[in-house]
Symmetry: C2
Subunit: 569 residues, 2 copies
C-alpha cells in the first residue's frame, strides 16, 4: 500500500491517470450517496456527540501518508457520519442540498484551481462574474450602472457593504482612522436582522452600542416609523447616522422589511441603504413572489446568496451596488504596483480580501442551464410546499403556528403535548409564572428536537424568539427549500414530530424537574390554541397579535428591547 502511494508521489506525470482512477471511484461513491439520501425512510444523519464520534473516525495525522488506496475508505467513513443534504428531510438551514449541475461546477472550479482576483489568471471566470453580477443587479432594478462581485458568504458581503459605505461617506477614516474624527457613526438594523451586521459594526470599530436595533412589528418586519424615530433621536444626540440595513427574509421567521418605505427614509436622511437579501433576494427570479422585495431598486447595496434558495453549492454570495465601480473606488489602496493596467477586471481590488474562489460561476452556470424559468419553478414549488406544511400544522390540534401566515419559506411552530398547561390571562401577566411556563415549553421543544435528532429522519432547528417584547419559548423552524421536498415528506414530518412528542410531558416531569402545578388536564379550554377570527390569540400580550400587522400598533413603547433570535445560517 505504501509502495503504491510512493509510486504515485514519485511519478508526477501520472496525475491524469490518477485523476481518472479517483474520479471514477468517487463517482460511484457519490451516486450511491445521493441514492441513499433519496431512499424513503433514509436518515439525514446518524447523530453522534463529539466525544463519541471521535472514536468512530480516524483522526490520526501520520508522518508517512496512508497513500492513494486509503482515500476512498476514508471518504466513505466521512460520508457515513455526515449530514446527507440530498435527503429532503434536511430542513435545518436556509440552504439545502445542491444539484448535479452544482457538483459538476465545483469539479470545474477544483480542476482549474482558479483564483478570480485578477483577470489574467482567470479571464473567463472574471467575465462571467462581471456579467452575472450585472444581470442580477439589473433584475433587482438597481439601474444602468449597477453590478457587483462575490464574497465568501453573506456575512462578508454585509461587511463589504458597510465598509464601502463608510469609506465612501467618510474617506478620511481610511487614512486617519476614527481617532479625532469627532463623529459617532450609527447604524440601523432591525431587531430581527442577521447578527453579521452587528459583528461587522463591531469589527469596523463602530461599537455594538452604535448598532441601533429598530423594533419590528408583530410579523417580525422592521417598523419604518420606529426607524425614523430612532434616526431622529440619534441626530438629536449629535451622532452621525450613516447606514441602514434592511432585511429581505429574516433568519428565523423569514420576514421582509418594507424596503420601499425604508428606502425613502434612507434618502430623506441621506443614509446608505443596504439590503441584506441573502435569503429573500432570490425571489427576484419569481414573478409571483418578487413583490416581496419591492423597493430593491432603491438599494445602494444589496446582498443575495444563490447558495440558499437557488441551490448553487456553498458558497455563492453576491454584493451588488447601484454603482458597480464603487467597490474599487472606495476600497482599493490605489496601488498600481499591485494590479497591473486594465485593472477594471481585476475584481479582487474592490474587496478587503486577496485570493478569491470564482463563486460567481456557480450562479452563471446554473442560470444558463436552468434559466430564470427554472429558478422560478424551483421557488414556486418551495412556496407550494411551505403552504402545504402550514396547512397540515394549522389543521392539527397538537400544533401551533408562530405566525399564522408565514411570509416566506420558514414554517415555525410549537408542538403542544397533550396535557400541557397553557397559561390563562392572569397567569400570563404573572412574570414568574410565565417564566416557568416558557422554560417548560422550551424544554418540550428541546426534548422533542433531541428525539427527532436521534431518530435522524428529519433535521430541522429550533429557536427562541422575542416578539413584541415578550420572549417566546423555543419553537421549531422548518425550512422549505429543496426541490425534492414533496407532500409525502411533509406528511411524514408531521407524523414524526407527533411520534417524538409521545410521552414527552411525562418524561420531563419525571426527569427534568417539571412543576406539576403548571400542568393542565384540558389544554384547550384557555390559552395558546384559542384564536379569534382576527388572528389574535386570546391572551394578547403573551404572543401578541398574531396575524396581519396593521402598522399602527398602540404599544410602540413596549418593544424597545425587542431582540429576535437568529438561528445561524
Amino acid at each position: 500500500m505504501k509502495l503504491y502511494s510512493q509510486e504515485i508521489l514519485d511519478d508526477l506525470c501520472d496525475d491524469a491517470a490518477e485523476l481518472d482512477l479517483l474520479v471514477s471511484q468517487m463517482k460511484d461513491l457519490m451516486v450511491g450517496y445521493v441514492n441513499e439520501g433519496r431512499k424513503p425512510g433514509a436518515i439525514v444523519v446518524e447523530h453522534k456527540p463529539p466525544e463519541e464520534l471521535k472514536k468512530l473516525i480516524d483522526l490520526d495525522l501520520p508522518y508517512a501518508g496512508i497513500g492513494i488506496p486509503g482515500l476512498m475508505p476514508m471518504l466513505q467513513n466521512i460520508l457515513r457520519y455526515s449530514v446527507n443534504s440530498w435527503n429532503p428531510g434536511f430542513m435545518d438551514k436556509l440552504y439545502a442540498g445542491t444539484n448535479p449541475v452544482g457538483v459538476v461546477t465545483e469539479m470545474l472550479i477544483a480542476l482549474l484551481n482558479a483564483n478570480s482576483h485578477v483577470y489574467h489568471v482567470s479571464p473567463v471566470l472574471t467575465l462571467m462574474e462581471d456579467c452575472v453580477s450585472e444581470k442580477l443587479a439589473k433584475l433587482l432594478g438597481m439601474g444602468e450602472r449597477s453590478g457587483g462581485i462575490t464574497c465568501p458568504g453573506g456575512a462578508f458581503s454585509n461587511q463589504l457593504a458597510m465598509l464601502t459605505a463608510r469609506n465612501y461617506l467618510f474617506p478620511e477614516i481610511k487614512t486617519k482612522g476614527y481617532c479625532n474624527l469627532g463623529k459617532k457613526l450609527t447604524v440601523f438594523t432591525s431587531s430581527a436582522g442577521h447578527y453579521s451586521v452587528e459583528k461587522t459594526g463591531m469589527a469596523l470599530g463602530l461599537g455594538l452600542d452604535n448598532i441601533i436595533k429598530v423594533p419590528c412589528d408583530d410579523q417580525g418586519r422592521m417598523r419604518p416609523d420606529e426607524l425614523e424615530r430612532l434616526i431622529i433621536q440619534s441626530l438629536e444626540r449629535k451622532e452621525t447616522p450613516f447606514f441602514i440595513n434592511a432585511t429581505a427574509g429574516t433568519t428565523v421567521l423569514g420576514a421582509f422589511d418594507p424596503l420601499k418605505e425604508i428606502g425613502k427614509i434612507a434618502k430623506r436622511y441621506n443614509l446608505w441603504f443596504h439590503v441584506d437579501g441573502s435569503w429573500g433576494g432570490s425571489l427576484v427570479f419569481s414573478d409571483k413572489r418578487k413583490h416581496l422585495i419591492e423597493g430593491s431598486s432603491l438599494a445602494d447595496t444589496f446582498v443575495l446568496n444563490p447558495h440558499k434558495l437557488l441551490g448553487t453549492p456553498l458558497q455563492c454570495s453576491f454584493i451588488l451596488a447601484s454603482d458597480r465601480r464603487i467597490f474599487k473606488q472606495t476600497n482599493s489602496l490605489g496601488a498600481q504596483y499591485l494590479f497591473h493596467e486594465d485593472s477594471k477586471y481585476d475584481l479582487g481590488d474592490g474587496t478587503v480580501g486577496c485570493g478569491r474562489r470564482p463563486d460567481a460561476i456557480k450562479l452563471f452556470i446554473g442560470w444558463k442551464i436552468y434559466g430564470i424559468l427554472g429558478y422560478k419553478k424551483r421557488i414556486e414549488h418551495a412556496f407550494k410546499m411551505a403552504e402545504y406544511l402550514t396547512n397540515l400544522v394549522k389543521n392539527n390540534s397538537k400544533f401551533k403556528m408562530v405566525l399564522e401566515d408565514p411570509p416566506n419559506l420558514q414554517v415555525c411552530f410549537w408542538y403542544i403535548p397533550e396535557g400541557m398547561k397553557i397559561l390563562d390571562r392572569e397567569e400570563n401577566e404573572n412574570e414568574k409564572k410565565y417564566q416557568i411556563w416558557k422554560e417548560q415549553m422550551a424544554l418540550v421543544t428541546k426534548e422533542i428536537h433531541k428525539r427527532l435528532r436521534e431518530r435522524g429522519r428529519f433535521l430541522f432547528d429550533y429557536s427562541p424568539l422575542v416578539l413584541n417584547g415578550k420572549e417566546l419559548p423555543s419553537f421549531f423552524r422548518v425550512v422549505i427549500n429543496a426541490p425534492s421536498i414533496n407532500e409525502h415528506y411533509l406528511d411524514e414530518l408531521v407524523k414524526e414530530v407527533e411520534r417524538a412528542g409521545e410521552g414527552v410531558l411525562k418524561y420531563l416531569e419525571e426527569n427534568k424537574n417539571f412543576q406539576n402545578g403548571l400542568r393542565s388536564e384540558n389544554h384547550n379550554t384557555n390559552g395558546i390554541r384559542n384564536m379569534n377570527g382576527n388572528g389574535y390569540v386570546n391572551y394578547n400580550g403573551v404572543l401578541g397579535k398574531i396575524g396581519i400587522a396593521n402598522g399602527n400598533s398602540t404599544n410602540n413603547n413596549e418593544i424597545n428591547d425587542f431582540i429576535i433570535a437568529n438561528i445561524i445560517n
Copy 2:
C-alpha cells in the same frame, strides 16, 4: 434539447442518474485537460484581452435555460480560454495547480454541500478541522493550548488575527467603538508585508496612517532594530502600539522576517505578535527548511495557507493561535440563542463570518494521504528546482538576479537585452537620468512579459520593487511550487525568455519613445552586471548591497520610505 432538460427538471428524483451521467462526462473532460496541460510545449493560456474574449464565450443569460445537454459544451469552452494550472509553466502566483486528491476532496465538499459553522450540520468536518488545526499549531511549536480555524483566504485570516488582538486587548472597542477611546492604536508591519495588513487596518478603522511600515534590510527582511525604534517613537508620540505583523515568506522576494528577534521585541513591549506565514509557514513540514520560520513558537497568531505550497485546492487558510479558545472568547457576541449548547465545536462563532466552507479537510485529507513525509518531499523538490533555475540565470550573461541567493521559492531576475545601457555611478546619482533608465528597464520587462504571455507557454508575473530606498525597475518573478516542474521545463523557460527578448530594444526604440542617449554599445563595461566578490554591485546605491545582510547596515536613515511591491497572490 429543451425537452430533455425539462424532463430532468421535472423529475426531481432523478438526481442520482443525472449525477452519474454528468460526472462521467466531466471525468473525461478533466482527464483530457490534465493531459493537455502536461503535453510538452502546451500553452498555459490562450491569452485574450477582455473585449476580445467576450466575443468567444457565450455570456447571454437566458430566460429559459439551455438545459443539461448544454452543460458540457459550455464547460469545454470555459476550459479552452482558462489558465491551465496543471501546466508546469504556470508560475504566476504563489499557488500552483492542485492534484487529484485535491480535486476529489472538492468533489466530497460539493457532494456534502456542508457548512462548517456549527457542529450538528458538519460533525465529521468540524472534528477534522479542530484536529488538523491543532496538529498544525503544535507542529509550529505554539504550545499545549494552541489550535485554530480556517478563513476564506490569507487576507481574511490576517483580518481575524488583528481583530482578535484588538478585541482581546481593548474589549471596550467591541461595544463602544473607537469614539472617545482616547487612544491611537498603531500596527507594525514591514514594508514588504502583504497589503492585506493595510487593508485590515483600514477596514478596522485604525487608519492607514497608523499602519507603520518598518524598513527592510537589503534582502527584504524586516529590520528588528528599526522595528524597535519605530515602536519607541510611537510610544513617544503617546500612541498605543499593539500589533506586530511579521512575514514568513514575503510576496515578491519570499523573504523571512527574523521571527525570533521580532517575537522578543513583541514580548518586551507587550504587543501582539502575529506571523503572516501564508506562503512560508508550510516549511514547517520540511526538517531541512523549517529553520527559516524559527520563532514561530513565539507567535500569538500565525497564518498558514496550505493552498499555496502544499497544493491543496484554493482556498485553504488557517489562522492559528497559542490559545485556541481566543477566537470565540473575543469575537463571539455571546449569543446563546444563536449557538446551542456544546458550542465548543461550533467553530463559526469565533469568526466574523457565518456560513463557512469546510476548507480544513483539504489539508486533513492531503496530510492523511501524503503524510508529513509527502509534503516534505514536495517542498524539497521545489527548493531543488528553484536552485536549478537560479543557477541557470546566474550563469547566463543576459540575466541578472534581483537577489543573488533567493531565500525562498521565488526566483526574481531581469533580462538585460543586448545593448541595453547600464548607468555608471555618476548617471545613477543623477535622479533624472536614473528615472529614465528605470522606466526603460521596466518597459523592457513589460514588453518581454507581453510577448511571453502571447506565446503562452509560461505564465509568470513581473513586479517593481523598492529596495533600500531605491525604486528598482520591474523584474520577473518566477514561482517554483508545482511538483511537476523539472529541469527540462526550467531550461525551456530560460530559452523562452531569451527568445522573447530578441530585438526587444530595437522594437522599443522604434515604438515606445526610448531615449537613445541612454543606450550603450557595451553593456558589460560598467553597471548592473558587474559585481565584486562580496556581492556588492559596483554602484552601491542603485541596487544597494546584494548579498547576505549583516544587519549592521550603516545607512539606516536612508531607507525610511522603503516600500516593497506586492504582486498579489
